[in-house]
Amino acid sequence: MAGFLVKRILQAVFVVLVVTLLVAWAIRLSGDPAIMLTQGAGSFTEQDLQNIRKALGLDQPFTVQYLQFITGVVTGDFGKSFFGGTSVGSLIAHALPLTLLLALTSLALAVAMSIPLGIHAAVNRGKAADTGIRILSLVGLSFPNFWLAIMMVLTFSITLGWLPPSGAEEPANIVMPALTMGVILTATNVRLVRTSMLETLSAQYIMVARSKGLKERVVLYKHALRNCAIPLITYIGLQFGGLIGGIVVIERVFNWPGMGSLAFDAVAARDYPVLQGVITVLALLIVAANLLVDIVYGLVDPRIRTE
C-alpha cells in the first residue's frame, strides 16, 4: 500500500504542476488587467497602461512570472490580487470553506436522495415506480443547472418569497444552491445505484440472507448496499471534480461567495494571481479527493489493500 501511495502522490504533484502551467499560460492569453483597471472611466493613455503593467510585474517574461508564482505556492504564498492587493491566500481562506460546505451539502443531499430512490427502483424493477424514477432521472439530467437555479429563484424567492435569492449570510441561503446541485447529482446517481443494486440482488448470498428470514430492509441496506458501495464511492469521488466545475455556475447565479465566484470574477477582471491561486487549490483538492477514494477503497474492500 505504501509504494502504491507514493506513486499516486507523485502523479498528483505532476498533475497539479501541469494544471498551474496551463492556467497561468491561458489567462495571459485572455487579456490585459491594465485595461480592466481603467475600464469605464475613459481617457486613459498608453502611458497609464504601461505604468500599471510595470507595477503589477507584467512587463516580466512569462517564465519569470510563472516561476515566481510556483515558488510562492511552494512557500504557501499565492501572491496578491491585482485589484487592491488583498492577499490571495486570505481570499481563498474565506471562499474555500463556503465552497466545501456547498459541495458537501449537495453531495449529502444527492446521496440521501439517490440511494433510497435507486434501491426502490431496483426492487420494483419494471414496475410503475421504476419507470417513474427513471423518467424523473432523465428529466433531471436534461436540466441545465443554471436554468434549474433560475427557476428555483423565480418560484421560491420571487413568487413565494420563502427563500433569499442570493448571498451567504443566513442558513436559508444554502438551500437553493445545494438543492440545485443535489438534484442534478441525484439524477445521475439514481441510475448507478439502480444498476449496481440489480446486479447485487441477483447474487446468491442475497438469496441466502432472504431465506434466513432476515427483514427486507436489513437485506437491502446491510447486505446488498455494502456490496455495491465500491462503484458508488468511486463514482462519488470522481463526481467531486465535476461538482466543483458545476459549482462555478451555481455560485455565480446565487452570488455564493465561494471559490467559483472568486474564479469567475478573476477571469472577468483578468486578476491573474487570484485565478492561479483558486485553480491551484481546486486542483489540489480534486486530486486529493481522488487519492482519498483510492484509500477508502482499501478500507472497504480488503482485496485492494493486499494487491
Binding site: 448571498g167 443566513e170 445545494a178 443535489g182 470574477d265
Partner: protein, 510 residues
C-alpha cells in the same frame, strides 16, 4: 464497515436539517439602504482604480476640492472658492475650514499637497489615474487654508477632474502611519459616509459621518452588495432585499421592474457613446461620399427602439448631450436609403461590395446593433462581414496598429463629460485610437482649445471639432446609452447621477 449505514443516516439527517432553515422574511433595519454593485474594485484608494463601481462608493466616502452633483454643475467642495491666473497656469484654492477626516485628522492645505504628491509620484504611477492629472506641476501650500496649483500647461478640464477619482483628498497622517495597503481596505476620507465594514467580494458597509461639513446624512446605514450576475441583482430587487440596482440595469429587466408596483426604473442620459469609425485608408470607405452614403443607409432610431429598448439617444458627434462641447445645432445625416444608393452609384461602388465591421464580441448590446447595421447596409447593396474580437485584442492590437476592417467599433464612457477627453484621443494624429486620420485642421483645433481659459470660446472650438468630424464623415455616429437604475419605491430623494457617482447624503428610506 458497520459505520457505513450509520454514516448515511447521519448525512441524511444533516441534509434535512440544512433543508429546513429559519424562513424569516427579509426584514429591513430602519434607515438602511442596500445597493448592488456588479464588481468589487478591491481597493478603495482613489488612485488605485478607475472603475465606475469604485466611484459609486468612493463618492460617498471622499470629497474633492470641487463637487459635481447629478446636475453636472461644478460646486465648491473642500475648496470654498478658486481663481485661475490670466495664463491659466496657476489656480489658487481657498479651503474650507474646520473639516475633519473620519479618523479625526484635520483637513488642511498639507492634506491637499500630500494627496497630489502621492498621485503624481511613485504611488500614483502604479495606477491608472496619473496621466489625467499630469498638467499639475506641483501643489504649493500658501497657508493652512490656501493652496496653489502650479501647472505645466493649462488644462481646461482640470477643475472637473478635481471633483472625482484621483482628485479625492486623502488623510496624510493616517496613510503614513498605517501604510498604503491598509488604506486600500480601510479607507478614510472627509466624505459624508465612513466605511465601517468591508468584506472583499461580499459587501462594503457605510455609516454616516456626523461631523461632515455638509451636514449629517439621513440614512443610518448603507450596504453595498457585490452581485456579479445582473439577473441575480434583479431577483434581489424583486424579492425586496436590495433597494437600488445600479447602472446598468439590463435592458431585458426593464419590463420586469416596470411591472412591479413596488419598483421603478430611473433612466437618464449617461456618458457612454458608441460609433462605428471608418477606415479612411483602405476599402470603399476611403471615399468620403461612400462614408456618407453608409451613414444615411442606417436607421439609428429604429436600432435604438428595437435593440436597445429605447434606452439611448441618437448622436451626431461622439459625445453625450451632457458633454461640454455638445452642439444642439449639429444634426446627424438623415436616414435616407434612396439617397444612399444614389451616392454609392455616384461613387462607383457596385452592389455587392463588402465592408468588414470589427467590434468587441463581449458587448451583447453592440453585437445586436452591429447586426442591424449590417442589415441596413445589405438593403443598399453593401455586404457586411461582422467580425467580433476579444475586447483586449481589438483595443490593443487591431485598432492601434491600423489593422481594422472598413468599420470598427469605438465606445467611450468618460466621466468628465468634456468632449476634449474623447476627441483628442480619437481625432488627433498619432493617438492610439486614431490609426488612420491625420487632418491638420483637426489637429490645430484640438491643440488650440487645450490652452483656452475662456469657457465659451473653448466650447465653440469643441463644437467646431464635432462639425469637422461630421463633415468629413470620419465615423458613423450611433447612439448614447442611458444610465439605467432599478429603484425600490421605498427610496426617497434619490436622484440617479449620469456619471454613476452616487452621493447618498439626502436619500431616505421608508
Amino acid at each position: 464497515m458497520q459505520n457505513l449505514g450509520r454514516n448515511l443516516r447521519a448525512m441524511l439527517l444533516a441534509a434535512t436539517a440544512m433543508a429546513a432553515p429559519a424562513l424569516a422574511p427579509a426584514a429591513f433595519a430602519a434607515g438602511t439602504l442596500t445597493v448592488t454593485l456588479v464588481q468589487d474594485p478591491g481597493s478603495w484608494d482613489p488612485i488605485d482604480t478607475f472603475l465606475v463601481n469604485w466611484a459609486k462608493v468612493g463618492n460617498n466616502v471622499f470629497d474633492g476640492l470641487v463637487q459635481r452633483g447629478p446636475d453636472m454643475k461644478l460646486a465648491p467642495g473642500l475648496a470654498t472658492s478658486w481663481e485661475q491666473s490670466e495664463d491659466g497656469k496657476r489656480i489658487r484654492f481657498k479651503l474650507r475650514e474646520n473639516v475633519k477626516f473620519h479618523n479625526g485628522e484635520p483637513f488642511d492645505a498639507e492634506a491637499v499637497r500630500f494627496t497630489f504628491e502621492r498621485l503624481l509620484g511613485a504611488e500614483g504611477a502604479k495606477g491608472p489615474q496619473q496621466s489625467n492629472y499630469n498638467a499639475i506641476d506641483k501643489v504649493e501650500v500658501v497657508d493652512a487654508t490656501t493652496v496653489d496649483f502650479l501647472l505645466k500647461n493649462p488644462d481646461p478640464v482640470l477643475i472637473t477632474k478635481l471633483a472625482g477619482y484621483g482628485g479625492m483628498i486623502v488623510p496624510p497622517k493616517y496613510i503614513q502611519e498605517k501604510g498604503d495597503e491598509y488604506f486600500n481596505t480601510h479607507p478614510v476620507g472627509t466624505g459624508p459616509f465612513k466605511v465601517v465594514d468591508y468584506q472583499p467580494k461580499v459587501s462594503v458597509t457605510l455609516e454616516p459621518f456626523a461631523e461632515h461639513w455638509g451636514g449629517k446624512p439621513k440614512l443610518d446605514k448603507v450596504v453595498f452588495r457585490f452581485i456579479a450576475e445582473p439577473s441575480t441583482q434583479v431577483a434581489e430587487l424583486q424579492a425586496g432585499r436590495v433597494d437600488i440596482v445600479t447602472d446598468p440595469l439590463p435592458i431585458s429587466a426593464i419590463p420586469i421592474v416596470n411591472s412591479d408596483p413596488r419598483l421603478k426604473v430611473e433612466s437618464i442620459t449617461g456618458p457612454t457613446v458608441q460609433a462605428l469609425r471608418f477606415n479612411t485608408r483602405t476599402g470603399i470607405t476611403k471615399d468620403e461620399t461612400v462614408r456618407k452614403a453608409l451613414i444615411m443607409a442606417v436607421d439609428r432610431d429604429a436600432i435604438i427602439k428595437q435593440m436597445l429598448g429605447g434606452q439611448a439617444k441618437p448622436i451626431a458627434s461622439f459625445q453625450s448631450e451632457l458633454s461640454f462641447g455638445y452642439d444642439p445645432a449639429l444634426k446627424p445625416l438623415p436616414f435616407d436609403p434612396a439617397k444612399a444608393k444614389q451616392l454609392l452609384a455616384q461613387a462607383g461602388v457596385k452592389p455587392g461590395a463588402a465592408v468588414q465591421i470589427d467590434f468587441r464580441g463581449s458587448d451583447a448590446n453592440f453585437r445586436e446593433a452591429a447586426q442591424a447595421v449590417a442589415g441596413y447596409l445589405q438593403a443598399v447593396g453593401i455586404k457586411s462581414i461582422l467580425k467580433p474580437y476579444e475586447t483586449n485584442v481589438i483595443l490593443n492590437e487591431i485598432i492601434p496598429a491600423g489593422k481594422t476592417g472598413e468599420m470598427f467599433q469605438q465606445g467611450w464612457g468618460g466621466w468628465t463629460f468634456d468632449y476634449d477627453n474623447t476627441a483628442y484621443l480619437m481625432y488627433h494624429s498619432g493617438e492610439k485610437w486614431n490609426p488612420y486620420d491625420n487632418i491638420p485642421e483637426l489637429n490645430a483645433l484640438l491643440e488650440s482649445q487645450r490652452s483656452m481659459t475662456d469657457r465659451s470660446k473653448r466650447e465653440k472650438v469643441l463644437q467646431e471639432i464635432g462639425r469637422v468630424v461630421a463633415d468629413k464623415a470620419l465615423e458613423m455616429p450611433l447612439y448614447n446609452l442611458n444610465a439605467v437604475y432599478g429603484v425600490s419605491k421605498r427610496v426617497k430623494n434619490f436622484v440617479a447621477p449620469p456619471d454613476s457617482r452616487l452621493r447618498l447624503t439626502d436619500v431616505t428610506v421608508d
